[in-house]
Amino acid sequence: MSKSNTILYLDGVSVSFDGFRAINNLSLVLDKGEMRAIIGPNGAGKTTMMDIVTGKTRPDEGEVFFDGQVDLTRHDEAEIAMMGIGRKFQKPTVFESHTIEDNLMLALKGPRSIFPALFHRRSAAEARQIEDILGIIRLGDKRHELAANLSHGQKQWLEIGMLLAQDPKLLLVDEPVAGMTDAETEETARLLKDIARDHSVIVVEHDMHFVRELGVKVTCLHEGSVLSEGTLDFVSADERVVEVYLGR
């Protein structure tokens, strides 16, 4: 396998917690500009895989490369984020004591050191960007409210908004539609497809309608490694996937 044209390259990655192998010899490759959906039973290791990519968890063994050449295992969270990997967490995590707007402001792409932040003034371009995002996540009327006061689903949206503000090269999106209505789910799918036009994306979801909507290649993880890969139809036809994941 050549790394050069990949945005994300995992090979032979394993990690265990107190003897429990959460990721087991996992290999996964994402091409530049590709969007991939990842499914798999609860506990298959999907979130852990994202933890590895974003530097939160160090793999016990295996290679993790970004953009063909950057060895992610040598960098920490902030560096990885600066390189252009953004993430939406499974459980929405926002800055609760800040307003929606400030949450987005902190996420906006830009310099990440202290002094620029100290003397930062919001530019017109930034203001416009925030405006756009607020429109997309439909929280415009709540822009001055504290994020703490959002409902669960609204926090999900805010997280997506923060991810957009970051404008990363690679987006890792963990269960974006959990807690959303069907209509919102469709909306989100549209949004992601839109983003995928000029970004690489990995989406984890259990909602098969949503995955179908995305219409991209699907990887099914199980017990820390790839069980099946291909189109959704192909994967859902796989006996083993039905057995461990979809159910009858």
């Binding site: 609860n42 506990g43 298959a44 979130t47 979809l246 159910g247």
Partner: protein, 231 residues
């Protein structure tokens, strides 16, 4: 069994519930639907006693609950699966389950077999700390923990969130089983329409802190009802 009447709730100055009335009967599955932020969770938490209503009342088996603390409500037979799981992260899976023993008589202090049948993963992971589980596993634990209490009313706030399809099916079967065999009342908040449609005996639709529609599950196919669920 459960009767909420004219409930209002404020968060500081903001109003989350505006005169909500709702009934959930024994042996029935009552579903609550609505878009994000319409007040579903607020309503559930008011029922189990996490929030004190600004006005209105909650009655369970004919007794007013408004003055009683959350633990007394739990002891009278209301079990709660909250949105966001809220398992005890540092307690092991076993201990999380055993935390449901508190309201039980000594003789009843065991984990019912159907919990493990429903969620076999919990049996495998008895010794692991709850907080270490994956999101979906935690959700299963939260449901299992509520079942340990042998409730008369089970309040579920988006229980399928983050759970793999096969287990969602199992949960659906379990809820039906509990309704039919144990005759308990189930109050279910859901976003997952299909799941709801399949299970619900009655649906309530919320919008902006109010119940805007009550009716049988089939109503979900009506356009005037659907409109409350679209963006």
């Amino acid at each position: 069994m459960l009767e909420v009447s004219d409930a209002t709730l404020h968060y500081g100055a903001a109003q989350a519930l505006r005169g909500v009335s709702l009934k959930a009967g024994a042996g029935k599955i009552t579903c609550v639907l609505g878009r994000n932020g319409v007040g579903k969770t607020s309503l559930m938490r008011s029922i189990v006693g996490h929030h004190r209503l600004t006005s209105g009342s909650v009655a369970f088996e004919g007794k007013a609950l408004d003055r009683s603390a959350a633990y007394d409500r739990a002891r009278s037979g209301i079990a709660f699966v909250p949105q966001g799981r809220e398992i005890f992260p540092l307690l092991t899976v076993r201990e999380n389950l055993e935390s449901g023993f508190a309201p039980l008589k000594r003789a009843d202090r065991n984990v019912p077999a159907h919990v493990f049948e429903l969620f076999p993963v919990l049996k495998q992971m008895l010794g692991r700390r709850g907080g270490d589980l994956s999101g979906g596993q935690q959700q299963q634990l939260a449901i299992g923990r509520a079942l340990v209490m042998r409730p008369k009313l089970l309040v579920l706030d988006e229980p399928t969130e983050g759970i793999q399809p096969s287990i969602i099916k199992d949960i659906g079967r379990a809820i039906r089983y509990l309704r039919d065999q144990a005759g308990i009342a189930v109050l279910l908040v859901e976003q997952y329409l299909d799941f709801c449609r399949e299970l619900a005996d009655e649906v309530n639709i919320m919008d902006r802190g109010q119940i805007v529609h009550t009716g049988p599950a089939e109503d979900l196919d009506r356009a005037d009802v659907r409109k409350f669920l679209t963006v």
